[in-house]
């Protein structure tokens, strides 16, 4: 059975999840710019496309996870954020996109906070 959360607890979770989506969304923008920028070094490459996909998934997942009641689905999405974040971080490392890596690290840091505030 989904656990009951008081309105303040839910608001806190949703806030952290929304905050998590902010660096993820910024990372998404960085990845899109890199994909289209001739001087990025990764313009139009499958690697850059993968980074966009990864950041898009992180952003959507971050927005979703704060809006879902505790349960299997939320646990699944929470774990997927970690796995997806780490894989995208690896992708960004091989793409040598420092700013993108920073946004992912921030996203994962907020994910950690989310874990602590979420039940």
């Amino acid at each position: 059975m989904p656990a009951y959360l008081s309105p303040p607890e839910r608001a806190r979770e949703e806030l952290v999840a929304n905050l998590m989506a902010v660096p993820a969304a910024i990372g998404l923008i960085i990845a899109v710019v890199a994909f289209f920028s001739p001087a990025s070094g990764i313009e139009g490459t499958p690697g850059a496309a993968l980074a966009i996909l990864g950041m898009l998934a992180l952003t959507v997942a971050a927005l979703l996870v704060g809006r879902i009641h505790p349960g299997r689905l939320r646990t699944f999405i929470t774990v997927m954020i970690l796995i997806g974040g780490l894989l995208t971080l690896l992708c960004a490392w091989f793409l040598m996109q420092g700013w993108l890596m920073l946004t992912i690290v921030l996203t994962l840091a907020l994910w950690l906070i989310f874990i602590f505030v979420a039940r």
């Binding site: 001087a39 990025s40 490459t45 499958p46 690697g47 850059a48 091989f94 793409l95």
Partner: protein
């Protein structure tokens, strides 16, 4: 009264001095100067401040194609030329841009309106322009810029305005193909800008030598820089060989020793590239470095670097001329880089080796009709940039491909350097991609240290019986690692790079490196991986290095500037140890030689960024200049 030759000698002695002065400010030749030294005496940018370099201007020429439309893909390997207070550069569409050296503002452009078709090379290719000043004239066309085209025309332009010089050729355009044989299977493409020797232009040419056995015989034409009239011509293959071979042309730059009146030709391999059964007689000038009297075209000396070349080991770059400093005085030398990874160091007046060259036994051919040379020249110093044995299977690539690399290796023939092409496939290390490439090396004439980039590429050379070949799709190119018809030979040919199914090299890294050689001793001072391999956008570790195309420039302040790498970056290296001190991202691999010059008290480093599909399918049209901040 002075004897005439004494006076001439005295005047000629002034030439290197004025040349040295010119080096301070300008970059007047493809290789910086006529001696192909790629040396800049500018010292404003130093190892200490190079990290402050910033982009000061860039332009996009618009002359770029990825080959997906009607226009073939482009390869832009032009060295910008600084002369006459303007920066000149040619483009792969054979246009000329004259721009302000400090702002990049376009002053004039010239469009030859030539055919943009791949008549010889599979891609539209240009290595820039030539600049020449007439010491006996003033006014329009006393200073000229020349641009060649793939359809074998040379255009002479007034350097101030970009207008055609009407007294040259036919109203400013010379048809170089008039000296081609009438039934030739390709035009004498003018992709490499002419080399200047006094008031002459020396024209080599590029062709389509991989296609058939019978090709035009390799030649160099010396023409009057004012009129385009033929002064002399040189042929690398003796008469009587027609129908059995061809080429051994000079498709890359030449170098000039004005003081001694000598020009140096890097002569390529004869055709067919990978089968020599139709040309078993000796062709002594093929795959050689050859010195000619610049006034007459007579051969002064020649040294063959590969006997009976069946690996397409063209002599790829202009030899670098340098007086090697020593206790007993300097030695007039040349350094000839090669695809094989050797740097031959010769006395440039006699052709005699400065470090001993041995004739070493090499493997025999097992192909019917072929007779590989039993020995090949082997310089004992400097050490080759790649060892005598190939680097071995790369475990990561082998595991990723579930053992494909090692299984494939078991099928191949490999008996060390110069293993001849075979029916089962020969592992060639280095392959035809080098080793060293057409960019050549740079030398600091003060220290006698030579710097050069190189690639470590393993390729597979596979001869294919004619009947079997006919069943395959014909065409292809080196760039695509494809099929080579070699029409007229009993075999076709397939060239592939030794990769696994994921495109990973099956041989161990590094794949490219930078090397410093002390020419006084022949000792290798340092050798480091250079550049980074990039696949699908992902950068591989720096220790893997990158295949390179293009060349370095060394400065008096101890810096090496170079693009050349697959990762589309330009870099400055510490000349004392090869450490990367600065790098910048550009829009495609900068497969060119940078220009380094002073202008109005500021030092600039300019790269033509155009790409080359051989190392990466990424093209560009960016001309970009870097300098220190004005403060």
């Amino acid at each position: 009264m002075f004897p005439k030759h004494t006076l001439t000698a005295a005047l000629l002695a002034l030439v290197p001095a004025t040349g040295a002065l010119a080096q301070q400010d300008e970059w007047t030749h493809f290789h910086g100067n006529a001696m192909a030294q790629k040396y800049s005496a500018s010292d404003q940018i130093t190892p200490e401040n190079v990290h402050e370099l910033e982009k000061v201007w860039e332009i996009h020429t618009g002359d770029v194609s990825d080959g997906s439309g009607d226009i073939p893909g482009t390869v832009w390997s032009a060295t910008p030329i600084l002369a006459n207070d303007l920066l000149y550069v040619g483009t792969p569409f054979y246009r000329v841009f004259a721009v302000q050296p400090d702002t990049g503002e376009v002053v004039w452009t010239y469009d030859p309106e030539t055919l943009l078709e791949s008549m010889t090379q599979p891609e539209l290719k240009n290595r820039g322009v030539t600049y020449w000043e007439d010491p006996e004239a003033s006014g329009p066309c006393s200073k000229r810029v020349y641009i060649g085209t793939m359809d074998a025309h040379l255009h002479a332009l007034d350097a101030d305005t970009g207008q055609l010089c009407q007294d040259f050729g036919d109203n400013g355009i010379l048809n170089v193909n008039q000296w081609n044989k009438p039934d030739a299977n390709f035009p004498l493409s003018q992709l490499q800008p002419p080399t200047v020797f006094r008031d002459k232009l020396l024209l080599g040419w590029a062709g389509k030598d991989w296609y058939s056995v019978e090709n035009p015989l390799g030649s160099v034409f010396a023409i009057d820089a004012r009129t385009g009239e033929l002064e002399w011509s040189f042929y690398s293959i003796p008469e009587g060989y027609e129908g059995t071979t061809g080429t051994a042309n000079v498709w890359t730059a030449m170098s000039v020793d004005e003081e001694n009146g000598l020009v140096y030709l890097p002569v390529s391999s004869p055709s067919a590239d990978y089968y020599g059964g139709t040309r078993l007689e000796e062709i002594p000038l093929a795959t050689s470095v050859t010195a000619l009297n610049g006034d007459t075209g007579e051969v002064e000396w020649s040294r063959q670097l590969v006997h009976h070349d069946i690996w397409d080991y063209d002599t790829v770059s202009a030899p670098t001329l340098v007086d090697i400093p020593g206790e007993g005085g300097s030695t007039p030398a040349l350094v000839q880089p090669t695809k094989m990874g050797f740097a031959f160091v010769l006395n440039r007046l006699t052709g005699e080796p400065i470090f001993p060259i041995e004739e070493r036994d090499v493997p025999a051919s097992d192909i019917e009709g072929e007779e590989a040379s039993p020995t090949q020249p082997y310089p004992t110093l400097p050490a080759p940039v790649m060892g005598d044995d190939w680097d071995g299977i790369f475990s990561l690539a082998n595991i990723a491909s579930l053992g494909y690399c090692s299984r494939k290796l078991d099928e191949l023939r490999y008996d060390g350097r110069y293993t001849p092409p075979s029916l089962e496939g020969t592992l060639a290390f280095p392959g035809t991609a080098g080793g060293m490439q057409w960019g050549g090396g740079a030398v600091d004439p003060e220290t006698g240290i030579f710097y050069i980039n190189s690639s470590r590429i393993a390729q597979i050379f596979e001869l294919i019986e004619r009947e079997e070949y006919a069943e395959l799709t014909t065409g292809g190119s080196e760039a695509e690692g494809g099929l080579f018809p070699m029409d007229g030979a009993p075999y076709g040919f397939r060239l592939t790079t030794f990769l696994n199914g994921f495109g990973m090299p099956c041989w161990k890294p590094p794949y490219g490196q930078m090397t410093a050689i002390d020419l006084k001793t022949g000792e290798t001072l340092w050798e480091v991986p250079f550049g980074q391999v990039q696949k699908w956008g992902f950068y591989m570790p720096e220790g893997w290095g990158s295949p390179t195309i293009g060349g370095p420039v060394v400065t008096a302040s101890g810096l090496i500037f170079i693009g050349a790498s697959m990762d589309a970056r330009v870099r400055a290296l510490d000349a004392s140890n090869g450490e990367v001190l600065w790098k910048a991202q550009v829009e495609a691999p900068a497969v060119s030689i940078p220009a380094v010059y002073d202008y109005k008290g500021r030092q600039y480093v300019v790269f033509a960024v155009g790409g080359n599909s051989i190392i990466k399918p990424q093209v560009g049209d960016q001309l970009i200049a870097f300098a220190l901040p004005e403060d």
